[in-house]
Amino acid sequence: MIPGEFEYHAPASVAEAVGLLDRLGEDAKILAGGHSLIPAMRFRLAAPEALIDINGIADLSYIRDAGNHLAVGAMTREAELEHSAVVLERFPMLADAGRLIADPLVRNRGTLGGNLAHADPANDHPAVMLAYGATLVAQGPSGTREIGVDDFFVGLFESALAPNELLVEVRIPVPGPSSGSAYVKMERKVGDYAISAAAVNLTVSGGSCTAARIGLTNVSAVPRRATGAEAALVGNALTDDAIEAAGRAAAQECDPSADLRGSVEYKRDVTRVLVKRAIRTAMERAQGGGS
């Protein structure tokens, strides 16, 4: 399968990239890792007239400890996150997800920014960032703006980014003391999209839950938090019943589509099971000194 022709641009700076986006409009596509865009081009299901390759822009790939949050450049490769000491140590949910995205070779090219900006409900980072309550920094012709992750995913493959805006950084809040988080994913085989996955971020005190953020993967058209499941936990003792109630709430509020990965009924029940497992792991990590 061979892609169609296109004009290739390789800007050296974010400003130059944003300028190109502004000038070329909807027929230009950003080329980051390219592992969603290029396959679509090879099947001629995507035929952008121009590609703006931002791999050459130096200052978009970094993992910085910024005090109360981790600042990650949008072009940071998945493999860098997967092997980053600070992520492994203090962001276990991000580490859980990092190992399960596609396969090791794809993770050498795929980027955090591409994964989020693509707003594919099947991607793993949306749920993780929803559970962390991250902030996404976009840069457009008139400067940068911060977008809270809850407002970032707008539609099916639709983010809040304007056509002439580039995602440049993701800020992940450092989990508070006695909080714990986990990402649990079920896929048919290595490299497949999730049948379902749950990202759970809890704060626990005295055996009960004081705060909860839960993101779900590939069980709705638009990545969103499982607010019903969160409500079932917050303010309650984390008993088996409360955990089961949270699982049931998530299963009821998600909106999966039937496909080769399973029926709607099956995906709902898997969501229930995975949310429960993620909650239990998050609890263990919270009691174990937090992170």
């Binding site: 399968m1 061979i2 892609p3 169609g4 022709e5 296109f6 004009e7 290739y8 390789a10 080329l31 390219g34 592992h35 290029i38 396959p39 090879r42 099947f43 590609l51 390759d53 791999n55 493999a79 092997h83 190992r99 596609a102 396969d103 090791p104 070779l105 794809v106 050498n108 090219r109 290595v190 490299g191």
Partner: protein, 166 residues
């Protein structure tokens, strides 16, 4: 549409060619540079038969444009046996019957090369997850894992002798 001149150091040798923007790196390596050891096995970035090293990292060359390699380095299977001496991985695959039809082998070896560079003594599980982006239909993977373990031991042995010598 847009033609581009790319200069790439391939297996240690600098080459300059004219390419279309849309030329995939795998076709550039196979057709423009006649390095046919890198193979094509799918159209959805699943099989890994096209794995090469781009700027020192193992990538699936069917999902990268040749123009993106401009100014960089590419290493393919043909560049492994430096000076006629087989790389420990090539030796391992031969010794342990890590291949049958040979079609996935170049990609498998290039992936294993990066795996061992990052993790000199990987466990069986780490090897299996490390090559999970490379499909093989003939071997059932057991002997590929043994081949990589063989190479890991040999590389570690070489390391320690070099330390002694250095």
């Amino acid at each position: 549409m847009s033609k581009h001149t790319v200069t790439v150091t391939v297996n240690g040798q600098e080459v300059t060619r004219e390419v279309d923007a849309r030329t995939l790196l795998v076709h550039f390596v196979r057709e423009d540079l006649d390095l046919t050891g890198t193979h094509i096995g799918c159209d959805t970035t699943n099989c890994g038969a096209c794995t090469v090293h781009l700027n020192g990292t193992a990538v699936k060359s069917c999902t990268v444009f040749a123009v993106q390699a401009d100014g960089g380095t590419v290493e393919t299977i043909e560049g492994l046996a430096a000076g006629g001496e087989l790389h420990p991985l090539q030796e391992g695959f031969w010794e342990k019957h890590g291949l049958q039809c040979g079609y996935c082998t170049p990609g498998m070896i290039m992936t294993a090369k990066e795996l061992l560079a990052n993790n000199p003594s990987p466990s069986e599980d780490e090897i299996r997850w490390g090559i999970s982006g490379n499909l093989c239909r003939c071997t059932g993977y057991n002997k590929i894992v043994e081949a990589i373990q063989y190479a890991a031991e040999k590389l570690r042995a070489q390391e320690s002798t070099e330390e002694v010598v250095a």
